[in-house]
């Protein structure tokens, strides 16, 4: 992460141990440990509550594509279709958002007028402040209808690619629409991480490039991008983690369905998070327990992605240090 040099934990003043010191240190330590306890609790309670349904499940939880869990007898459900939809939607978002985010970060750090740069940065941050339920409302009622003619055009001209095969959805409530909205939502995260790392590029590197007669783009290509690579990758993966777990926007945009489909312009796919939100109010029997199991899978996927992101960033920091 991008922290300034930590003041080394100062040596405690010598002398008699004071009661206040002991109490305060204990409180601080206790909070730290409490966080560990909460996290352990999250994992433990999810596993405990998911267990009964997993035992009762008559089909393979990881490979089955259907969801028939709202019963007390022989529930049959699997997370395969949901996991597929989750990864597909998040990948679309990542592919769309990353190049734009790098462009925005470059704009704010190197192109925008100095005095305006901070304000323009806040504007991008505002995208992160808007609640996901409002994104869902907007995506469903404003964006989706506008995309319908675009999708028709895409099936007409690009229909030979399986991803865009027709006929396209007449409501625009497809995985691609969800992916676009997710892309907008993760844009500020990737931008913020890229901006941080672009700010850290040593001035010497940049000035050296410029002094040799490089244009601004050549300076960026030779000095900024190689230096910022790990930060960009890390930011993109953090964005991916956010997109994987995003619930409301997807739940409101996608029409309910459950299938594995590579077609981005028809309805059919669903994501884990959205499925949980949509199914929970109607869950009976083993339903809630099965949804908790699905939540565990989502937790595991995002955990893996986030840890990967931290690892990439940490390694990059070590290299550049």
């Amino acid at each position: 992460m991008t922290t300034t040099d930590a003041p080394k934990a100062a040596p405690p003043p010598r002398g008699k141990r004071r009661i206040g010191d002991a109490v305060f240190a204990g409180l601080a330590r206790g909070s730290g440990l409490l966080i560990l306890a909460i996290l352990a609790g999250v994992a433990a309670f999810l596993v405990i509550q998911a267990w009964p349904s997993l035992l009762a499940n008559t089909s393979n939880f990881l490979t089955d594509q259907s969801w028939d869990a709202n019963t007390r007898e022989d529930p049959s459900f699997g997370v395969a279709a949901l996991a597929f939809g989750t990864v597909l939607a998040a990948s679309i978002a990542l592919l769309l958002a990353t190049p734009v985010a790098i462009g925005i970060a470059l704009f704010i750090v190197y192109y925008a007028p100095r005095k305006l740069a901070a304000t323009l940065g806040y504007l991008v941050d505002l995208l992160a402040a808007i609640p996901s339920v409002v994104y869902g409302l907007w995506g469903m009622m404003v964006l989706a209808p506008q995309l319908v003619p675009v999708y028709e055009g895409m099936t007409h001209y690009l229909g030979w690619i399986p991803l865009f095969a027709g006929p396209s959805s007449t409501s625009g409530r497809t995985l691609l629409t969800a992916g676009i909205v997710l892309a907008v939502m993760i844009l500020p995260i990737i931008t913020a991480m890229s901006r941080d790392v672009f700010h850290q590029v040593p001035q010497g590197h940049r000035e050296a490039a410029l002094a040799m007669g490089a244009t601004r783009w050549e300076m960026i290509r030779l000095a900024v991008l190689p230096f910022g690579k790990s930060g960009i990758v890390g930011g993109a993966m953090l964005g991916l983690g956010r997109a994987l777990g995003e619930t409301m926007a997807v739940a409101m945009i996608l029409s309910p369905a459950l299938a594995i489909s590579f077609n981005l312009l028809q309805s059919g796919n669903q994501t884990i998070a959205a499925h949980i939100a949509l199914q929970y109010p109607e869950a009976t029997g083993y339903g809630v327990s099965a949804l908790i199991a699905a939540g565990l899978v989502l937790f595991a996927i995002t955990l893996a992605v986030n840890m990967g992101a931290r690892y990439v960033v940490a390694r990059g920091n070590k290299e550049s240090a």
Binding site: T4, I35, W217, N306, M307
Partner: protein
């Protein structure tokens, strides 16, 4: 980056033919003039075909501008400069592209939301109002949002700030690494999983089907703690070491140094971080649908008794009902929520700027 300085690109043959350094640059105000020109011409052409749309216009102007400036630059200034101009156009385009959804979103929320946004809407609940009636408001949801978010803040701020203090002032070695790592892990918990956690916990404690405001607050706390820890940590690290040492030199014990010197110095930064954290969780919908219930219609100040409506869930449930009046309510509630979030966001920045510590 290797340790050697970046290699300058070898000058292409085209620059070898131009001995005069100042030869071949486009006039300084050429790009601006061209942009305005393109805008006017495209607007004219579109108007002639009577198909003027703001998005089409912006898109075509951007394309026309990029093509012309790259061609012109390639002619006058050579390939390298042309490439530079192209990248400049793309980078500006990226920023404008990101602003398009923001503007569209705020514009529609304000446009649709104002239809029903009124003092009446803000001060009555949905108690006794049928979903399709042309009445009712959002007061009970505002109450719920304030209560749930307030309790989440009360729970997560002490834990978060104290953990940050522990990480910056006390922890060393392995335990510090472990806590930092798990705070990072916690940052990545999807909000719906935080909701499921509380559902699981409540099922064990109270049996199935119990929803109340406290459950919602707890799920928001799980999401809020890591944000508070992260931002507080950054702020505490900004407090200079000299201040701490000056305090120690006067014989002040460590805990008094932290409470009387370190925390007050970083108070503004801490407040900013906390407000941004509140702004983040106040719009969370998914965990609250699971934990606080989505069918309450009356005003409920009691976090521990019964379902509790709140603004995000109100928007979602009105949206699910799907009637014209319901959509109007959803948009008006969205406007209310966006206004609250924006207010928090701006206030946080202002506080951060006005009261930031003057020690450097």
């Amino acid at each position: 980056m290797s340790t050697t300085t970046a290699q300058p690109p070898v000058p292409g043959p085209e620059s070898g033919t131009k001995p005069d350094l100042r030869a071949g640059t486009l006039p300084r105000h050429f790009p601006l003039g061209l942009l305005v020109g393109c805008g006017v011409v495209v607007a004219g052409v579109l108007a002639a075909f009577s198909s003027f749309g703001l998005i089409t216009w912006a898109l075509l102007t951007a394309v026309a501008y990029s093509v012309i400036i790259v061609t012109a630059s390639n002619r006058v200034e050579g390939g390298r400069k042309a490439k530079d101009r192209m990248v400049t156009a793309i980078v500006y385009g990226c920023f404008l592209l990101a602003m398009a959804p923001l503007v569209s979103l705020l514009y529609t929320v304000a446009g649709y939301g104002l239809d029903r946004f009124s003092p009446y809407f803000l001060t009555v609940s949905m108690n006794g109002v049928l979903p399709s009636m042309d009445a009712g408001g959002v007061y009970h949801a505002i109450v719920g949002t304030l209560a749930i978010t307030g309790m989440a803040t009360l729970l997560s701020v002490p834990i978060g700030v104290l953990t940050a203090v522990y990480l910056v002032e006390y922890a060393q070695g392995r335990i510090k690494k472990v806590i930092t790592f798990f705070v990072d892990v916690m940052t990545g918990i999807p909000s719906i999983v935080a909701g499921l956690f509380v559902v699981a916990l409540w099922m064990m404690l109270f049996g199935p089907g119990h929803t109340n405001g406290a459950a919602g607050a707890l799920s928001l706390t799980v999401l809020m703690i890591p944000v508070v820890v992260r931002s507080s940590e950054e702020m505490l690290r900004l407090v200079s070491r000299d201040l701490r040492e000056a305090s120690y030199a006067l014989g002040v014990p460590k805990w008094r140094t932290i409470t009387k010197v370190v925390l007050p110095t970083s108070a503004a930064g801490l407040t900013t971080g906390i407000m941004l954290a509140i702004a983040r969780v106040i719009g969370e919908t998914a965990p609250l649908v699971l934990t606080a219930g989505s069918s309450a219609v009356s005003i409920n100040w009691n976090l521990f008794d019964g379902q509790m409506m709140n603004l995000p869930v109100f928007i979602y449930s009105q949206f699910r009902m799907g009637g014209a009046v319901n959509y109007e309510r959803a948009w008006a509630a969205a406007l209310t929520l966006v206004l609250i979030v924006m207010l928090l966001f701006i206030l946080a920045r202002v506080i951060g700027r006005l009261f930031s510590p003057k020690t450097r």
